[in-house]
């Protein structure tokens, strides 16, 4: 789950990371008032779950409170379209109004999980403000890393090594080491997935500030991060994905094609998308039913898939392990009988209780289904069905 910049900064500030003065505003008048508090000038930043907001017109400098009001009026209510959002963009219902700072230097700093050693890794670079993927690709020697060993936790020497490496020495060494340690603490205690400050700025008056912040938490840890989960902004997420989430289906991703799929297991779900593509079709979604092991949940998932107006046909591709094919069969029949899904539906069942599963489908003679034997057959039949062929 992602946080907005203003939420991320509030979180980091709680852990002692210095952030610029400012607050979130939801109306132009609030933006004006905050700018007056800040001494008459400010920067107005659109709050949306995307990077590259500046290029898209989502970040503006205000020299007067009146200008702040005008900028906020222009940004609030806009759909912010960047290369990360897709053509529809994301709605902006809040702006962060912050003090203008005189920047001397920009540093990159982040904490994420490094899968191979299985430890959090702190990454720092003197090339702040840049796309870090580009820095990693073009000048990997400009990235400095320190792993956080869970046996002893973050140690100050790691902060010092990073600070020296990116040129934060002299009077900045102490504050930089502290900032890095506090960022790591925020990451560890909040079940962070990615915590990124890009950039940390050195101001002309010698302060260190987190000028931008991205923070997302591990979806698997939401159950123990209630205070963060309460800050979820549903307007930034896909409606059908939220609907899925509300029905206990964690693993639904909306895509652009016209063939819906309901699959058990993330790997088979990805492979089903690949198989549909090889058969000449385009998947409309990724959906792993996960641990949903009752007919009602399966039917709800089918209703969700069918509610996408782009979907012309649906493939149910099940290879039962923990998931039982008889339960899936009952769910499919339920969804069809209750009119929860109207599109042609191809069903492929293999694995646990497959004889029972197929028997349930056979006996439901009132329900029209296209049956498939094996993966390739299922992909071929659903592509044909999506084109109105038999």
């Amino acid at each position: 789950m992602k946080l907005h910049e203003y939420q991320a900064k509030e979180l980091l500030a709680q852990f002692g990371v210095p952030v610029p003065k400012g607050r979130v505003a939801r109306t132009p008048e609030e933006a004006e008032a905050i700018t007056i508090e800040l001494g008459g000038s400010s920067v107005i930043k659109a709050q949306a779950h995307t990077g590259a907001r500046g290029k898209a017109g989502g970040v503006k400098v205000a020299k007067t409170p009146a200008e702040a009001k005008a900028h906020a009026a222009a940004i609030l209510g806009m759909q912010l379209v960047t290369h990360q959002t897709g053509p529809a963009g994301l709605p902006v219902s809040a702006v962060l109004v912050e003090e203008l700072v005189d920047i001397e230097r920009e540093i990159y700093l982040s904490v994420a999980i490094d899968n191979t050693p299985g430890m959090p890794v702190i990454i720092a670079s003197a090339q702040g403000g840049m796309d870090i993927e580009e820095v990693a690709a073009n000048t990997p020697e400009a990235l400095f890393k320190q792993h956080v060993d869970p046996a002893c936790g973050f140690q100050p020497f790691q902060g010092r090594e990073l600070a020296f490496a990116v040129g934060l020495d002299g009077p900045l060494l102490g504050p930089a080491t502290q900032l890095i340690g506090n960022l790591v603490r925020a990451f560890m205690e909040s079940d962070g997935a990615i915590a990124e400050i890009n950039p940390v700025v050195v101001t002309k008056d010698g302060r260190l500030l987190a000028a931008d912040a991205k923070f997302s938490i591990d979806d698997n840890a939401e159950y123990r991060q209630k205070a963060i989960v309460e800050q979820r902004d549903r307007s930034q997420e896909d409606d059908r994905e939220l609907d899925a989430h509300d029905h206990g289906i964690q693993n639904y991703v909306a895509l652009d094609g016209d063939i819906g799929c309901l699959v058990n297991g993330a790997g088979l779900a990805m492979a089903t998308m690949d198989g549909i593509k090889f058969a000449g079709g385009e998947p409309a979604n990724f959906l792993d039913i996960g641990t949903a092991n009752n007919p009602e949940a399966i039917a709800a998932a089918l209703r969700l898939i069918g509610s996408d107006p782009k979907v012309k046909a649906v493939l149910v591709n099940i290879f039962g392990g923990l998931a039982r094919t008889d339960v899936i069969a009952e769910g499919v029949i339920l969804a069809k009988r209750e009119g929860m899904i109207s599109q042609p539906t191809v069903v492929r069942l293999s694995g646990t209780n497959v004889d029972l599963g197929n028997k349930i489908l056979d006996e439901a003679t009132d329900v029209e289904l296209i049956r498939a034997d094996g993966f390739a057959d299922g992909a071929r039949k659903v592509v044909a069905a999506s084109r109105g062929e038999k």
Partner: protein, 293 residues
């Protein structure tokens, strides 16, 4: 005997609830020794003819359990793994999905200095077909005895690959699901090492996924292998930046894409399957080519 599981494997199941009981029954019917269950507070009971203990240590003392199979819910699963490790169980297999990553950071650190091996989490388990020895959730009917080993990040794709092989009359020595999480106990590379050393395995199917760099690390080892490896990478059509169910399956950076992984594996000498429907037929061709079929 395939890898890790054999006739002497004695399985204790941690988290003897609905799923644990159902899988215990399937394993026992298949011929596997399921010697105990562990559910704290239920010690002394017998469920499905399996004696239940409060702690793993007791199950090990009473029944010489040497494999632990874990179904404990995600918030408590890391604790269950560490309990099995402390009890000295040499093989720990964790089925549980959805364990917080920072919990696995701690577990991984402990396993690094341990004599126990962890498989998973978020995996289908391990099966040795000739020995009818199963610790996992895989459907047993699709397996056919033979000499192909199957390794996968995904559970259901193990079944899919095994089914495609069996339908063509190609049997398996066994399968090992390494798990779909970002931090796992036994890596794809380590799983390849196990099958390469197994005298009953002649060829290997490896099923990877987008995200991370585990396939590239496996490719480094494939360069040195004698046995042929057929590889499918799931998620070629997945969009970047989106988590595809598995916490580990998210493309971030160029190394995580299916094409980058395929290129590394092809360069290492593996045979790449593009269409997931062709896993079985590709292995059939590879076996012929190597005079193994």
């Amino acid at each position: 005997m395939s890898v890790l599981m054999n006739k002497d494997s004695r399985v204790v199941i941690q988290g003897f609830g609905g799923a644990g009981q159902r899988e215990a029954k399937t394993s026992i019917a298949y011929g596997t020794q399921v010697v105990a269950g562990v559910t704290p507070g239920r010690g002394g009971q017998t469920i499905e003819d399996v004696p239940i203990y409060n702690t793993v240590v007791e199950a090990v003392e009473q029944h010489q359990a040497n494999v632990s199979l874990i179904f404990v819910p995600a918030p408590f699963a890391a604790d269950a793994i560490l309990e099995a490790e402390r009890a000295g169980v040499p093989l720990i297999i964790c089925i549980t999905e959805g364990i917080p990553v920072l919990d696995m950071v701690k577990v991984k650190r402990v396993m690094k200095n341990s004599t126990s091996r962890l498989i998973g989490p978020n995996c289908p388990g391990v099966i040795s077909v000739a020995d009818r020895s199963r610790a996992g959730i895989m459907p047993v009917d699709v397996y056919l005895e033979g000499n192909v080993g199957v390794i996968s990040r995904s559970g259901t794709l193990v079944y899919e690959a095994v089914d495609q092989l069996s339908r063509l009359g190609i049997g398996q020595s066994g399968s090992l699901g390494v798990g779909g999480d970002p931090i796992i106990g036994t890596t794809q590379r380590e799983a390849l090492e196990l099958f390469e050393a197994d005298p009953d395995t002649a060829a290997i199917v490896l099923i990877g996924e987008i995200g991370g760099t585990a396939e590239q690390e496996a490719a480094e080892y494939i360069k040195t292998m004698k046995k042929p490896v057929v590889v499918f990478i799931g998620g070629a059509t997945a969009p970047p930046g989106r988590r595809m169910g598995h916490a580990g399956a998210i493309i971030s950076g160029a190394a995580g894409t299916a094409s980058a992984k395929q290129a590394a594996l092809r360069a290492a000498g593996a045979t790449i399957v593009e269409n997931p429907a062709d896993i079985g037929s590709t292995m059939q061709a590879v076996l012929k080519q190597h005079g193994l079929a």
